[in-house]
């Protein structure tokens, strides 16, 4: 195995991986913020109904992008982690990444099923009616609602960890890890 004289950390993610990462990140932030705001509006208002639709369109988009991204990631290795990273941090990073991928699938899926159970089908972009996967069911609706919320709070914690770790690498370890995902930092 040839040694990499540049410690491996200077090796960037590919442009495809970077595009996937930031596009999905942006959509997740928008979807999360909309979800937060819209569920705080009492009763229903025109704005609330709009936000609900936008929130669902974003969720469907994240779901589709996440599937393509996971397939892409499964066939393309990520650049290696800095060599001096202790094993527990490597393990932690891999675990958080794995869970983030899982939530990119599970959160839109739970929201979609919640919408189906609530007897509100999803019409993507207001144009494409998507199939109803489960029949309306008030009991299941409550269950899926709570699941959707719980998964989102889990995501919030994981994203906070993910961002904190990236900033730690940038400012404390100064190992250039962040520049793999933000090439202009180089």
């Amino acid at each position: 195995m040839p040694l990499n004289p540049s410690f491996g950390t200077r090796e960037s993610y590919t442009r495809t991986a970077i595009a996937f990462h930031w596009l999905i990140a942006l959509l997740i932030v928008c979807g999360f913020a909309l979800g937060w705001v819209m569920t705080d509006i009492p009763g229903f208002t025109p704005a609330k109904l709009r936000y609900f639709s936008w929130h669902k369109w974003i969720g469907v988009t994240v779901f589709a992008l996440a599937i393509v991204r996971i397939l892409w990631r499964a066939t393309h290795a990520a650049p290696p982690l800095p060599r001096r990273m202790p094993a527990w941090q490597r393990g932690g990073a891999h675990l958080v990444h794995l869970l983030l991928y899982a939530l990119m699938i599970a959160i839109p899926a739970s929201g979609y099923l919640y919408s189906s159970a609530a007897n509100v089908p999803v019409v993507y972009l207001g144009l494409i009616p998507l199939p109803r996967l489960i029949e309306p069911d008030p009991h299941l609706k409550d269950l899926l609602k709570n699941l959707h919320i719980a998964l989102n709070y889990t995501l919030l914690v994981l994203v906070a960890l993910h961002v904190a770790a990236a900033l730690k690498h940038q400012w404390l370890d100064r190992d250039g890890l962040l520049s793999r995902m933000l090439p202009f930092l180089k």
């Binding site: 009492p42 229903f44 208002t45 025109p46 109904l49 709009r50 007897n119 509100v120 019409v123 008030p138």
Partner: protein
């Protein structure tokens, strides 16, 4: 003793006259029937069910013109599957159920349209506004059971359903589809 005898007489007479009326105008079996209204929110069909309604139908396929139908719907019973939404829909901007508790349809003419279908003309009143509408109804008979199925698109703006900021039809479309399935059991 005498008083109670007259009471029985009276009760018997009342029961007899009710039965006579019932033969002409059959009560709809509400438990087996349904009336729904589907609105489109951002192009998403959202169906709500009216939990309380009553209907009387008198219909002989051989003599459709002699038939009649009357439906009374308790608009406060509209159920979207979420109590906070239901409560809002009962409010002034939508059904204003306190002032206008009932929506009614009263037929005025029934004409055959072929293939078990009939066009029922009548007056639809919601929220104090009335419109003459023609409802295409499919009639089926299975033994003593008679079923009436139909769908009627209406414009909610014509009945002042959704006032204020809801007049904007870009979020909740103007067209609302009323669907009904009425079951009448003839004895």
């Amino acid at each position: 003793m005498k008083v109670s005898f007259y009471r029985y007489m009276l009760a018997g007479f009342a029961a007899a006259s009710l039965t006579a009326a019932g033969a002409a105008l059959a009560q709809v079996d509400v438990a087996k029937s349904s009336v729904t209204a589907t609105s489109k929110q951002m192009n998403v069909p959202v169906e709500g069910k009216f939990g309380k309604f009553s209907a009387e139908v008198s219909f002989d396929p051989a003599r459709p013109a002699a038939g009649s139908a009357q439906i009374n719907i308790d608009v406060a019973s509209y159920d979207l599957g979420d109590e906070s939404y239901n409560e809002q829909v009962r409010g002034k901007e939508w059904f204003d159920a306190k002032t206008y508790p009932g929506a009614t349809f009263v037929s005025s003419a029934i004409a055959p349209a072929g293939g078990g279908k009939f066009n029922v003309t009548g007056k639809l009143s919601i929220k104090g506004k009335s419109q003459t509408v023609v409802v295409p109804v499919t009639v089926a008979q299975q033994g003593a059971l008679q079923t009436f199925d139909g769908a009627l698109p209406i414009k909610r703006s014509q009945f002042d359903i959704g006032t204020g900021e809801w007049k904007d039809t870009s979020v909740v479309a103007d067209e609302v589809l009323i669907k009904f399935h009425l079951v009448v059991a003839h004895k």
